[in-house]
């Protein structure tokens, strides 16, 4: 099982892609019904000043059906997951979760995954954690390992092959 299976979901995943598309269409309808463009989400957005993310504009474009354009844009990857938009939207629209759905769709469509997501995912597949145990430095530049500090062994999946099997299933089955 490779990253590709889990992310691009290969060609056999037409069904899953359809499901996601349907979900987004439903989303579009819901957005049209609920989002009244008050821009409260954008006013508190942590990524707004720094990266020009404007969640209310994304919602507006989705309402007009510009889903593919949004899926393929880089701006959806600038969200910091601060959840202010979800907390503060008076209409219970959750722009942050809409962004998660768009990013998932981008990944499924085979768009190149930005940054180090791939290595985190690879690490989850191989050992269950986003990274292996690290050696760290003290303030006076001495190296310390986890075991030097008297900490117990890390907790991670006991049966790695079983764990991987489920993740594979997760990639090919509809949930």
């Amino acid at each position: 099982m490779s990253i590709k299976d889990l992310t691009s979901m290969a060609e056999a995943q037409v069904e899953l892609r359809e499901e996601i598309n349907n979900r987004l269409l439903r989303l579009q309808n819901e957005l049209s019904d609920y989002c009244f463009q008050c821009a409260k989400c954008t006013s508190g957005c942590e990524a707004h000043k720094l990266l020009e993310l404007e969640p209310h504009k994304i919602m507006a474009l989705l309402k007009r059906g510009l889903i593919d354009e949004m899926v393929n844009s880089d701006v959806i990857w600038t969200c910091m997951s601060c959840f202010k938009c979800r907390e503060r939207c008076p209409q219970k629209v959750s722009p942050v979760d809409v962004l998660f759905a768009l990013k998932n769709l981008a990944v499924m469509g085979g768009k190149q995954i930005p940054g180090n997501y791939t290595s985190m995912l690879q690490s989850i597949l191989s050992m269950g954690l986003i990274q292996d145990v690290q050696e760290v430095q003290t303030r006076d530049m001495k190296t310390r390992r986890r075991e030097d500090l008297g900490l117990p062994r890390v907790s991670k999946p006991k049966d790695a092959s079983k764990f991987q099997m489920v993740l594979t299933k997760l990639a090919v089955e509809k949930v």
Binding site: L51, M80, T138, R139, L167
Partner: protein
């Protein structure tokens, strides 16, 4: 001794040892026994942008493992705490989703029943242990230190799934700090993000966020900043130098885990609290 299962997540147990060390030192003093369990995995939140279902499954898997122990689950990482709370919320309200997730969990002989409670460092201290009990153990009060609180986004929001603190005006960390004898003060940037989750794909912007908040903390005249999440600490403390370079400022803000400050106030050994692992200039503060 009240028992909790400790869920270590990824970041704390693979690099943020100061948090884990201080947690393991401080909670037994407060009558809390921590139980270690094998077989946990990532909570899934860090890869939610890639596959939301993977996130939900991983969270459910960890909750199912915790259920087998029968104690509430202590989750010191705010990102993990958010993921597990959100997962609980979904599976407890959506029977269809619960049975589908359980079908997959069955291949690892696991089942989610919805029986385990999830607590974070802040509510464990404030709501379960209580300020009164904390005060009893203070041997070296943090007199004269003015500390800024950083709550971190995932601990604070969204209130609809139940968070340990108020979503717009959280005060529990301040209450604990005051019990230790420290001074606290509200500041405009208190709820600003550390940038941590953006480090994976937009490190410059992430570090700018970190640097800007640290600058604000300095300008307000605080003696230090306190965090309760390994993602936040790895930005404000582990990467403070880089954050300073990014915003072209020399930053010198001592940054501590709340549990490290508890330990110091309790008179515990600095080394045992992992204080030598903080990379920010914590020596500036003489406690």
């Amino acid at each position: 001794m009240k028992k909790y299962t400790l869920y270590p997540g990824c970041v704390m147990q693979t690099e943020q040892y100061g948090y884990e060390l201080s947690i393991r030192e401080v909670f037994p003093v407060l009558g809390v026994e921590l139980v270690d369990v094998e077989n946990f995995s990532c909570c899934g939140e860090p890869v939610k942008s890639i596959n939301q279902l993977l996130t939900l499954y991983l969270s459910a898997r960890n909750l199912a493992i915790a259920e087998q122990q029968g104690f509430d689950l202590f989750v010191p990482c705010s990102v993990c705490h958010f993921a597990l709370s959100e997962c609980k919320n979904i599976l407890d309200n959506d029977g269809g989703m619960r049975s589908r997730v359980n079908e997959m969990l069955a291949s690892e002989d696991l089942e989610y029943k919805g029986k385990v409670g999830v607590v974070h460092t802040v509510d464990l201290l404030y709501d379960h242990v209580g300020v009164k009990e904390i005060k009893k153990h203070v041997k070296k009060p943090l007199k004269g230190l003015k500390i800024a609180s950083h709550y971190g986004c995932h601990l604070v929001r969204p209130s609809e799934i139940g968070r340990p603190v108020d979503s717009e005006n959280p005060m529990k960390i301040e209450a604990v700090l005051e019990a230790l004898g420290a001074e606290t003060m509200d500041y405009a940037e208190k709820l600003d993000c550390c940038g941590g989750l953006l480090l994976v794909n937009l490190p410059e912007s992430a570090l700018t966020k970190t640097g800007q908040k640290l600058q604000a903390v300095e300008e307000h005249g605080f003696d230090g900043l306190v965090t309760v999440c390994p993602w936040c600490q790895r930005m404000f403390d582990s990467r403070q130098k880089k954050a300073g370079e990014t915003v072209a400022a020399k930053l010198e803000v001592p940054v501590f885990y709340l549990t490290q400050l508890l330990g110091l106030a309790f008179g515990l050994d600095e080394r045992k609290l992992g204080l030598d692992l903080n990379l920010s200039p914590v020596d500036k503060l003489k406690v």
